[in-house]
Structures are given as C-alpha cells and as structure tokens.
C-alpha cells in the first residue's frame, strides 16, 4: 500500500510518462541532514522500500541510535523512538515482547552497536529476540567528529588515532556479523555493502529477508551494511565507495554468516 501526498512526484506524471521512481510512503518528505556522499540515505531508502513492499508501514516501529542517524525518526514515516546510546536492542525487545504482532527494527551505527551497546546486541541475539537489526558499519565515528570506531581498520587514521590505528595499543576491528552468527539465538546474520548498484540490490534483498524472518517468527535477524563516510574519511564520495571495496571488504568480507 502506497500513500502519496500532494508533494509527491506521482501527481506530476504526464500522459506519455511512466513512473519508475518515487519516494516510498515509509519515508517522510523531510530533507536529511546527511553529508554529501553518505550512504545512510541509501540505507534509509532500502528499508523504506522493503517496508512499503511488505505492506507493514502501519505496524512497524523503529528505534533510532545515537550517532549520525539519531534523527532517523524524522525521516521514516513510521512510529519511531530514540534510544539511549547503544540500548536500542533492549528497547526494541521491550516493544516487541509486549506487541508481538508489530514489526520492530533497530537502526544502529558501529559505535552504538559494536562499542557502547555490545552487551545489548549480544544478549538480544542470544535470546533470539524476534527483531530486525540494520547495522551501519562505516569504520568511523561520524557524528562526534571522526574518532576511531571499534570497526576502524588497522593503521586507519582517525581524529583519535592520528598516526593510524595501532593494533598494539588500540586493538583490532571487531567483526560483529561473524561474532553474532556464532550465537545459537541468531537466525539470520549477513554482511552486505552499499558501494555499488549491484551490491545495493543485494543489500535490499537481505533487508527484505531480515524483515520477512521477523514476520514469520524466525527470530533475531541482522544485516550489516558496509557504508561510506567521505567527510570523516577525508575522501571524495566516489573515492570513498571504491575504498569500501578495496579496504573494508578484505577485513569485513561480504556473505551470509548465518541463515536458518
């Protein structure tokens, strides 16, 4: 079911024109605050398209993280709440347990999910909570100004690792998908990337599976999305997308780590 409003493109179609692209009903008309070249917008759109296609907009509840995507609730035309930093999986669990007929998802960045909220995501997965998690991994802290993330690559320069991440002192990147897939409670854990159209299509498919799993009661589903942060990586947008492929994918291989 698609709800159109007066500002929608749909109203301006000429007689010999065909509508091939429009704003999903699950997105609001708000302009996002994301930087040029950031892939958050792509991820938002994929989620919104999937929710539209599954016809679940009116029963989906989202939880926003603390981080760049903290304002996700302004961009999704869904019931949405803010979480305390890292606690989104706990809050989503609370919502889902008392409203099992609703579709509940969290949208979390790498600081939110893999650092401050490590306990919450691990235990939500271990309990096999029937929720969907979209995990944006861009290997850096965006909102706070480009500091090291738990997923920052070895030797990668950030504002808190000015000479590059020294694994001797600052540890190694955490591969959350691999880690969570080892838990018996997790039903579906995959890693995809948003660096080119082909991968974006695969990402959308995975997001769809993650939502369908929940609707079918299969349990905890997580899609990790390798994403770009041109501003904090200090790169041009296109260069940043290439960097995902050349630098991130060797450390964070794409694939299905668990699929029941």
């Amino acid at each position: 079911m698609i709800i159109e409003d007066s500002r929608s493109l749909a109203t301006n179609i000429g007689p010999d024109e065909e509508l091939i692209y429009r704003r999903p009903a699950s997105l609001t008309t708000a302009h996002t605050h994301y930087c040029p070249g950031c892939t958050h917008g792509v991820a938002h759109r994929l989620i919104a398209e999937v929710i539209d296609e599954l016809g679940i907009r009116e029963k989906t509840i989202g939880i926003a993280p603390v981080g760049c995507s903290v304002f996700a609730y302004n961009y999704f035309n869904l019931d949405f709440a803010e979480a305390a930093h890292g606690r989104a999986p706990a809050m989503a669990t609370g919502i889902k347990r008392v409203q099992p007929d609703k579709v509940v998802f969290t949208y979390q960045g790498d600081g939110d999910l893999a650092a401050i909220g490590t306990a919450e995501i691990i235990h939500a997965a271990a309990r096999g909570e029937n929720i969907t998690v979209i995990f944006i991994n861009n290997a850096i802290y965006g909102m706070t100004g480009g500091q090291m993330a738990p997923t920052t690559l070895p030797n990668m320069k950030t504002t808190s690792t000015p000479t590059g991440r020294d694994v001797e002192l600052a540890g190694f990147p955490i591969r959350m998908a691999e880690l969570l897939a080892r838990l018996d409670g997790a039903a579906y854990v995959v890693r995809r990337s948003l660096h080119n159209p082909a991968e974006i299509r695969k990402a959308k498919k995975a997001i769809r599976s993650a939502f369908e799993n929940q609707m079918q009661g299969r349990g905890f589903s997580l899609v990790e999305l390798l994403s770009s942060c041109p501003v904090n990586w200090n790169m041009q947008p296109v260069e940043a997308l290439k960097w995902i492929e050349t630098h991130m994918m060797p450390i964070f291989p794409l694939g299905d780590y668990k699929s029941l």
Binding site: E58, N77, D79, F80, A83, G94, R97, Q99, A119, E120
Partner: protein, 588 residues
Amino acid sequence: MSLPEIQRKQVAEVSKLVSGDDIRLRIAGESGEGVITAGDILLKTLHKMRRRVFTYETYPAEVRGGHCWYQVRTMIPEVLSAGDAIDVLLAFNQEGVDEHFHALREGGFLIRDAPTNPPMDEAPGPKQYFDVPIPMGELAVELGSPKGKNVAALGALAAAIGMPDTTIEASIAEVFARKGEKVVEQNLQVLRAARKAYLEIPHPPVPDLKSGEPENVTGYLMTGNDAVVLGAVAAGCRFFAGYPITPASPILEAIARELPRVRGTFIQAEDEIAALGLCLGASYSGVKSMTATSGPGFSLMAEELGLATAAEIPVVIVNSQRAGPSTGMPTKNEQGDLNAMVFSGHGDAPRIVLAATTPETAFEMTVEAFNLAEKYRHIAILLLDGNLGQMMEPAELPPMRPVDGRRPDWALTGAEGRPHNIISSIYLQPEELERVNQRLQAKIERIRAEEVRYQEYMLEGADLIVVAYGTAGRIAQSAIKMARQQGISVGLLRPISLFPFPEDRISQLADEARGFLVVEMSAGQMLEDVRLAVAGQAPVRFLGRMGGMVPLPEEILAAIVKLDQATSPSIVLRHVEQVRGGSAGGWE
C-alpha cells in the same frame, strides 16, 4: 537431669516474664540449617494466633555457609520495632550460642542444640539464664529427618512459650506440604519428640501464649517484597525486566512467577542498563513496566533516567537499599540512596520518590508509584530497604479493581490511520529546548503542589518533631511512644513522598515547635530537606546510623530526651536570665 541451683532459681523469674505479651525470639545458625524456614513457620503460627509480629533477618552475602539469624518479636498490639534484648535464643550451633548470648536478656531462655557448650564469654558479668540443651540434630536424624534440626528447635520453643500444639503443627504441615505427606509426618514427629524432650527436663511452668482477637490481625501474611509484586500486578504492571541483585532479587524471582499468570512479560536482563532499557521499550508501547534493583544497579540506570525524564516515559523503579557505597554490604540495610534517587542522572528533573514502611504500605506505594508515573509521565521510584523487603507481616489489601489496559495515545503502536508517533528527547534550537525544560519544570512544580504525602503521629501540639521515613520512621514511632510515657511532648512526621518533600508542613510545624530531630539510616540526606523547610526557625538535630546499623528505639528516645532538655523553655528562661545578669550564658 538436674539443674544447678542457680538456674533453678531462675526458673520462676523466667516463667513470669515469658508469659508476658511481648516476646522477642531469635533463631541463629549456619546458613542451610533451616533458620529462615524455622522463622517462617514461627510467623505462620503467630499469624494463626492473631498476634502481631515484627521480623528482622540477616543472612550472609556468601552463596553457601556463613552465619544467619532471624528475629521475631510478637505482641498482641502492634509491634513497631524488633526490640532490644531477646527473651529466647534458639541456637543451632556453637556460633549461634556465642554470637548472640550477649543479646539474651537476664533470665532469658537459651534453647541450644545439645552438642553445643554453654556460652564461653559471659562478659561483662555472669548472666543468669535458663539453659535448655536439646539434642535437636540427633532427634531429627533418629526420626529419619536429618534436616529437621530447625523443627526440633521449634518443638522445644513451642513447649517453652506455650504455643498451642495444633497451631504449630498446622503451620508445619503447610510449609512442608509440597514435599509430600511423608516429609510432613516426619517433621511432625521431630516436633513432638523435641517438645517431649523439653517437658522432660525441669522447666518453669509452661505459660499459655495468648492469642489475639480475630480482628487484631487481618490480611495476608507477606514480605515487603511480595507486597511490591502484588501491588505491581494489581496496578496493571505487565512487564518486568531486572538483573539479580541482593536484596532486590526476591522481587525479581516472585514477579517471574506472577507475571506469566496475567499474560505479562518477564525478562532477566544482562545488566541493569538493559533492564531499564527493556522497561522503557515496554513503556514506549504503553505497557506499564517496572524494574527492581539496589544501589550499584541503580547507578547503571542513571543514563536512561535522563532519557525517560526528557522523553516523558513513565516507569517504576524499586530500589531496595543496601549498606554502601559501592558493593557495600548487600545483605544489610541503609538509607543512603535518597539523594541518588531524587537527583541522579543528568539534567534538571527530580524524580518522584515514595518510601514504604511496612509490607502493607509497600503494596499501597507500589500502586501509587504506577499511578503517579502514568499521571505525570515521569519516573516513580519506590524506596525500600533490605529489611523491609524481607520483613513478613500481615498486610490488608484494598479491594482490587480491573486494570485499564488502554494504551495512551502517545504510545508507539504502529502509525495506523494516524500520523507517526515519535518519542525523542532531542531538540536542536536552544529556545525550543528551554521551552521543553520549562514545561518539565512546570510539571515538577505541579507534582510538588499536588503529590506530597506524609503520615503524622501524635503531632498535634507537639513541642518536638521527629522526622524519619521508612524503617527508621517505624522505629522512631516506637521511641515516640516511649517518650510520651515520660511526658515529653513529641510527635512524628513520616514523609511518604521524599520527593515531593512535605516542606510546607514542616515549615508550618517549625512556627510552633521547639526543635526537630531527624533520624536516618545514613549520614543525613533528608536532613537537608528538613533544614531547608525549617529555615532556621528551630534547632534541627540529627541521629544517623550507617553501615547496616539500625537505630534502636532507646537510642532515638535518648536523642529526644536530649533535644527536650536542650530546648526546654525553662532553660531558655535561665539562659535569658544569665544574659541579663551579665554572665556569658549558653545552652546546656
């Protein structure tokens, strides 16, 4: 068996005292010897006899082993404190004898397991007591019930204080019923054998322990923790998440059993951060939620207190206070968390804090906490302490009403046929955020104006005012009774809401009162509230115990007497005269 002359002499005195209305009993032994079970059987029996009780139990923080004891005071009228010297000590082992003998009053009963020795240390002076060695363990083993030492002790006790046989036997049958008839029968045999063993030794005349009138004790026998759980369920709580922490764990365990019966949800969280996060998720959905914790766990929740305050999400938190700071003494109680309850967390917004005093008020205040949390979309905290949580007493419950299960319109239930709901605390324009904060402050002001709760006791026209809450408040009430008997004009103000604090009432009392005494089981936190309300109109004195020490009624009485003397009008007069006479003067 013949008693030494000196003990024989004791017999008559002892018997006279024990037949009195007020009996203080203490059961002491090794953790695992059934001390708590014995206490529970005793309570059930006293409850059946319509006698009032006050209990105090202490157990080791270790998982196994360690010394534990359970004190029961029983009277026919209301009991306000655990009392000081004990009349009967039931000791299951040598440590039980040695550790507690000092508390036994002159002429009291020492009922001990036969292999133990009489107390070694009788300092400061020899104390006369009635020594009752009963082979409790041996009797139990002989009768095929090796764990029955506690029941044997109760048999001797029942005979000594004149508890009706049928009543205690009924309690035993109840407590062991779920273990099967055979176990019940074995325990009854142990009980009877021990009773016989007591009656066979020379003993004082067995008194007839009086029962109260049926109306003396009504209601259900329950602990403070049970009352919280029942109150929560009655108030419509359908979601609980928590992390086990002493002394709040019994709430978690009980609600894990109760919630599924009302189709509620229980989740044991990975830590207290997740526990409150889970609760907020349920609250986001418009479902009433609660968590229960103790000091260190509460500290972990501080982050989300800010979120719940700013996003205006109702939630109830029970804090069963332990002695602290930090890990402190988990099994002992203190009132050191008050400031943390009202103020912890970032941002400007004190929380609603209610304190219970008895299991009955724990029930009422739990319901009240849910109502206030919902009414104001704010956090409501119920303040307990370990002692109140474990204290078992009859509680009269109000008539139950059906729960309104409707979800509030701000809840996240899916944007079906309405614009999407957003729950957030983020505002990026200073003017906007200031307006939000002003709105929150206006709400706090409304709470201050409309939700103050307190109880007064003998306050009308009192010269001296004692201010105390929770367990300290209850003990203070017993001290006030004693002070009134001495002719001191003193009353008690017991705040029920610690925030909002009854500042107007105290300020009003300060116009007339000669002095205030604040009693807390802390270094003085509510003391500041009282000082602010009194605003220098009268002297404010303080009595505080910490580290798990509970103030005794006698201690509070002494502080009242001192305050009375220091503020007595005759002294004021003398002071004035001395000043007039040119001397330096001064307060006594």
